[in-house]
């Protein structure tokens, strides 16, 4: 029976809130509880906006150093020359217009116990609940030879922005006949399916623009999400793409940025262009806030996404490790809405509602050829699990119109979610 433990956790969470928060219930007493959200990506921006919409009396501050957000989903199309970078850029103006205080400063210190955030300009923000959504940091200590300087020659392009454009420029400038090497890390990392979308769309670029070139994908895994769908598409479209999994010696073991070589267990490859996606961890602010554990990721309560390490701090987006919850923009947005509801209820002294959310991730294997993986998630015995019998991937034998429709739905999803978060 799953209801009893969940209910216990809900009550425990509410009791924890009562014990740790300031006068409770804050909202019922007519005070203006303060919530600070650090990080303005899909998770943090959704959280700030929906908190304010859920209760206009809340004093909500969004702390995000960048005035313009560069979205990762569809940045693979930018790399492959299929889309302008402008389509990835969003401002926080509409969120601010709804009454969220948007502060374009870096958070430089977090005192989790005092619930206080120090900003780059020295100002301090006190709050009743804190939300950190720092995304991921690339680990420049994990793959020998791959540090920040190497990333300027061998872009990761795993945070959208200048790195995205650098990889695009390198692909455009390379001579036809060269080898592109893409290196992929082991799990967990941000949006794993999009690394195979990355490979697919680079292969598409090479096929259409540099037809004598080839792509080698060195992978620290043997299996991956939507594998059959990707591999069927590669077989159909990209004879120029070679995937080397761990079992074939493909595990990336190091790079030499000066020599432009990438090594694997079995071989060293000379690259005309190298796209190195290194291992990752929760963004640095998670460390400052004391919510990251030794793995580098942030364990959270499955109902409220409150940190298991630091009460009163909720962790959202790719930084959190929450059972089966995927590290996707779709999930970041969906979970943030669930968490916004929980935070409003906790501030009222009410137990959070039973959470449940949907994730749908689209991938493009070619510009007009998409497929998806979906799941419905709910907590069971303290862990986020997929609802059995639901979810799964697009059919393997779908006709071309189905792939084309899913490619259109993928673009529709991006337009919809960015309108909801930033529009």
């Amino acid at each position: 029976m799953t209801a009893s433990p969940t209910r216990r956790q809900v009550l425990a969470a509410a009791a924890g809130a009562a014990a740790s928060a300031l006068p409770c219930p804050l909202l019922a007493e007519g005070a203006a509880p303060r919530v600070v959200v650090i990080g303005g990506g899909f998770a943090g921006a959704t959280m700030a906006r929906f908190l304010k919409r859920a209760d206009r009396r809340l004093d909500v501050t969004l702390v995000e150093p960048n005035p313009v957000y560069a979205a990762c989903p569809f940045s693979n199309e930018v790399i492959a020359g299929l889309r302008d970078m402008d389509a990835q850029l969003f401002s926080y103006g509409r969120i601010a217009a709804e009454g969220v205080a948007v502060v374009h400063q870096a958070a430089t210190a977090v005192d989790g116990r005092a619930r206080s955030v120090t900003l780059g300009d020295g100002a301090k923000l006190a709050c009743d609940r804190l939300v950190v959504a720092p995304g991921v940091d690339l680990r420049f200590d994990a793959l020998p030879g791959y540090d920040e300087a190497a990333a300027k020659r061998m872009p990761h392009a795993w945070k959208a922005g200048e790195q995205t454009l650098l990889l695009r420029r390198q692909l455009e400038a390379m001579d036809d006949g060269g080898t592109v090497v893409v290196a992929l890390p082991a799990l967990p990392y941000r949006c794993p399916p999009s690394s195979y979308e990355r490979a697919s769309l680079i292969a598409h670029f090479l096929k259409t623009r540099k037809p004598r070139s080839k792509l080698i994908v060195l992978d620290a895994k043997d299996t991956f999400s939507m594998q059959r769908l990707f591999q069927d598409a590669w077989k159909e479209f990209y004879p120029n793409l070679e995937w080397a999994p761990v079992s074939s010696g493909g595990n990336p073991t190091g790079v030499d940025a000066a020599a432009m070589t990438v090594s694997s267990d079995f071989d060293t490859y000379k690259a005309a262009v190298a796209n190195i996606i290194p291992p990752q961890r929760a963004g640095r602010i998670a460390d400052l806030a004391g919510v990251a554990d030794r793995t580098g990721w942030c364990p959270v309560d499955p109902v409220t996404f409150e940190s298991r390490l630091m009460p009163g701090i909720h962790v959202l987006g790719d930084a959190a490790i929450a059972g089966a919850v995927p590290k996707s923009a779709f999930a970041a947005n969906a979970v943030a809405k669930v968490c916004a509801s929980a935070v409003v209820r906790l501030l009222r002294g009410e137990p959070p509602a039973a959470p449940k959310f949907v994730n749908t991730c689209y991938s493009l294997a070619a510009p007009d050829y998409g497929f998806s993986i979906a799941g419905v998630y709910q907590p069971v015995n303290g862990q986020w699990l997929e609802v059995e019998g639901a979810g799964g991937v697009s059919p393997a034998d779908a006709p071309p119109w189905f792939r084309s429709l899913e490619a259109k739905l993928a673009h529709g999803w991006f337009n919809t979610v960015t309108a909801e978060v930033f529009g």
């Binding site: 209760d55 509801s341 949907v358 189905f402 529709g412 919809t416 979610v417 909801e420 529009g423």
Partner: protein
């Protein structure tokens, strides 16, 4: 003129009316709707925009009526209606959950009871 065509014009008008309600000040009873959202309800707007005007092939939430959601979720779940992804999603929800989601959207007047009758 078919019933469908007759229904189209008022449906568009109602659709715009709902859109205008949503675009303006939120009605008081909707102010804290999020905290009352039944399980899964807040996920719909990831793909189905709350407002019209977003470039997507999908129906905005404000384009559904009354029992549309329950009916659609049931036929997707049972495989009676072809789908790209909604069959996979609908299988994760019980009748009770689907009805609660529909009721929540109706309570906020995001979804209205039925299309206005054609005169």
């Amino acid at each position: 003129m078919s019933d469908r065509a007759k229904a189209a014009a008022p449906r568009v008008a109602a659709f715009l009316a709902v859109a205008l309600i949503r675009a303006g000040a939120m009605p008081a009873q909707a102010a804290d709707a999020l905290s009352e959202a039944p399980p899964g309800a807040a996920s719909c707007s990831g793909c189905h925009p709350a407002h019209p005007g977003v470039d997507t092939p999908l129906t905005p939430l404000a384009g559904f009526y009354g029992s549309d959601i329950v009916m659609a979720m049931q036929v997707f779940r049972d495989g009676r209606r072809p789908a790209t992804v909604m069959d996979r999603i609908a299988r994760g929800f019980s009748d009770e959950e689907i009805e609660a989601i529909q009721a929540w959207y109706m309570a906020q007047r995001v979804i209205i009871d039925a299309p206005p009758r054609a005169k």
